[in-house]
């Protein structure tokens, strides 16, 4: 009886394992074919002089990487990406946190506002880019019109996307809005997981709004903040669509970010080897930056829970 039962149990377990494996198989295959293989293949590419149409694709070792070190255009692109990240991530996170706090109030209509703020996230990035191109038009765009209406006629003449100084800030400003939704939702989830008891205790102790936010909300949001910071940084370094649609890297390469630069190297110049090497350099940069963020934040998180 016992032996039979355990055998049945065992075969049940085996069946379960098999079913489980079957369930993850589609995702596993998808990841292998569409993610893992390309990542490895890109590394192979980066070690070759691999021009799309040339049958001769010699192995060149690290030559593609060595060349990048002396390529001012690639450094320019890395610099632009860093600028974009430094501009869009901290501001975007602060804005998202502020909005999350607002829509976390128990007030009428917050659901509507949550939806509205999240809408850009479910819209086509290309459509958003076109809308913002029109918003930024000199003289006729909504921004120019608004500036003109409040008397800033000189500023209304500015072509935000064609001006070497303003093109990058214009892209960053747009990203604050397009990136708001997902960040807001994450912060909102974080806010709602803060135990109400802590707020009650603080209220009894007579803490003001600001000190409650400063000493309870912010520290308890640290894990969420870390997550938002790391994912935002990664996606900021990979930005492509708005640049492709709105500035094409211009004016004069002022918005030529790495993602766009890689695309051009691969699909305008057809140097897949160089483009893959650029992708790996970007990967290393992102890896370094995010692990640094992890280390710094982790220290503060564990510090907080111990004390």
């Amino acid at each position: 009886m016992n032996a039979v039962g355990s055998r049945a149990e065992k075969s049940g377990e085996r069946n379960q394992t098999r079913a489980g494996l079957l369930f993850i198989l589609p995702a596993f295959l998808h990841l292998t074919v569409f993610v893992l293989f390309p990542i490895l293949f890109a590394f192979v590419l980066s070690l070759h002089r691999w021009d799309v149409l040339k049958p001769n694709r010699p192995f060149v070792g690290l030559e593609n990487y060595a060349k990048l070190l002396h390529d001012p255009l690639f450094w320019n692109a890395l610099g632009n990406s860093a600028l974009y990240t430094l501009g869009s991530v901290p501001l975007g996170m602060a804005l998202a946190l502020g909005v999350a706090v607002l829509v976390n109030q128990r007030l009428r209509g917050t659901t509507l506002f949550r939806t509205l703020f999240y809408l850009p996230a479910v819209s086509s990035a290309v459509a958003l880019a076109m809308v913002w191109t029109f918003l930024y038009l000199p003289e006729r765009g909504l921004l120019a019109w608004t500036l003109g209406a409040v008397g800033l006629t000189q500023a209304a003449q500015t072509d935000w996307l064609q001006n070497p100084f303003w093109a990058m800030p214009a892209l960053i400003f747009m990203s604050l809005w397009t990136g708001l939704g997902p960040r807001m939702v994450l912060f909102l989830a974080g806010l709602q997981s803060v135990p109400a008891a802590l707020y009650e205790a603080a209220a009894i102790d007579g803490a003001g709004h600001w000190s409650v936010f400063r000493h309870i909300t912010l520290p308890l949001l640290l894990p969420t903040t870390l997550f938002v910071l790391v994912t935002s940084t990664i996606s900021a370094f990979q930005v492509f669509t708005p640049v492709y649609m709105m500035t094409r890297g211009g004016p004069v390469r002022h918005t030529d970010v790495v993602g766009y630069h890689i695309y051009n190297t691969a699909w305008r110049q057809f140097h897949l080897g160089t483009a893959s090497a650029q992708s790996y350099v970007l990967f290393l940069v992102v890896l370094a930056v995010s692990s640094l963020q992890f280390r710094l934040m982790q220290k503060r998180i564990s510090g907080f829970t111990v004390s």
């Binding site: 074919v33 569409f34 993610v35 293989f37 390309p38 990542i39 293949f41 890109a42 590419l45 799309v52 149409l53 040339k54 990035a125 290309v126 076109m130 029109f134 038009l137 000199p138 003289e139 006729r140 006629t153 003449q157 072509d159 996307l161 064609q162 001006n163 070497p164 492509f240 669509t241 492709y244 649609m245 211009g250 004016p251 004069v252 390469r253 890689i262 695309y263 051009n264 691969a266 699909w267 305008r268 110049q269 057809f270 897949l272 483009a275 893959s276 992708s279």
Partner: protein, 435 residues
Amino acid sequence: MAEARQIGLRYRGQVLLTLVGLSLGLAGCHPSSRSTDATDVTLRVADWGGASADPAISRFESEVMAEWQRQHPHIHIAPEHIPGSDVYVSKMLTAFVAGTEPDVMALDASSAAVFIENNTLLDMTPRIEQEHFDLGDYYPNVLDLARRGSHLYALPADFTPMMLYYNKSLFRNAGVPFPQDGWTWNEFREDCRRLTVWPAGTPHPTQYGFELQNWMPGWIPWIWQNGGDVLTPDGKHAAGALDTAATGEAFQFLYKLVADKLAPTLSESQAQGADPFQSGLTAMQISGHWNLVGLRASEKLKLADVGVVGLPERRRRVTVLYESGYAITKGCRRTAEAWEYVKFMSGPFVQRKKAELGVGISANRQVAESRREASPFEAAFLDNVRYGVAPKGATVENYAQVEDIGREAMEEILVGGKPVSSALREAAKRIDAEL
């Protein structure tokens, strides 16, 4: 033909993802020609067209297709439209690598070299000789755009010399006589000056003489007219061509039009949110025959108010000739049927339809000449064909990059305020590193 103002919804290219598509394609099958019946054949035909708002174009397409199906009931055409000329080139090249290329593809002269030099197209000469097919019907300099020695890789479908369009009303209002073929740069600049209107109290002119688009296929003729060039005659170097005084003078001339407020800045053109020539901001514009299609649909500028004239000349009279034709790919397994299709598209029925509906100039000399009197524009175009020179992209494989760098150099001069000579010297260096 390349279109400057096309705002297509472009494919968002991501290197890694595309790489996968590419490697899968390599391993995959070759779905070139598939038969639906023992006798039925389907040809895949790629071009850069898309949906058009112009009823003449849709009519042209449906009438052509109906006639083809009548003549060849068993050869079906599966069209593949890839909007956007630069995306079209990338997409086609990737398809060749992946082995998923179409049977027949539209070939633009301005990007023909990359396809011909990489051995992706079928030489049509054997079939031409076998059938004693008469090439004498075509304009020789148009036909030669796809020729390499004794090999021919495409039959022309339509073409255009780049011309100067002018707004007759604005000329009349300013009391400026209409430009005549054979006019000069100085006369052109003087006309620009007289056509520019700058009322007191406005931040910039409300009407300009000319619109300088930073679109290299549009401004390259200026350089040639002054005896300069972008590349040396062998097409191998930019140093010795792009950085010479003759080329610099042409850039300087164009730059001065903008700097002296005779042409809008790129931003001011942009601010129009529409074609500045059609909206009446500028009195002159350089474009090809295709521009007539857009003008015909324009609500602000009536076609009766539009004139077309050859480009103003400096040291030599020259313009650039853009052409598109049909080529058969090397991977095509139904070459006999594909050859029939190419002949049809380049032949009298389609060419006559095209001319009648005014959607292009026929590459067939007889058909084109028969339309000389059909509209006030055709004669001007036809008279300028002999000044037409092949775009460098017809012979230089990496020309797309040359154009990118050229556009950036012009941007540095116009927007970045960089001196012409140093911008061109640096651009020449970059191009030479690429070629």
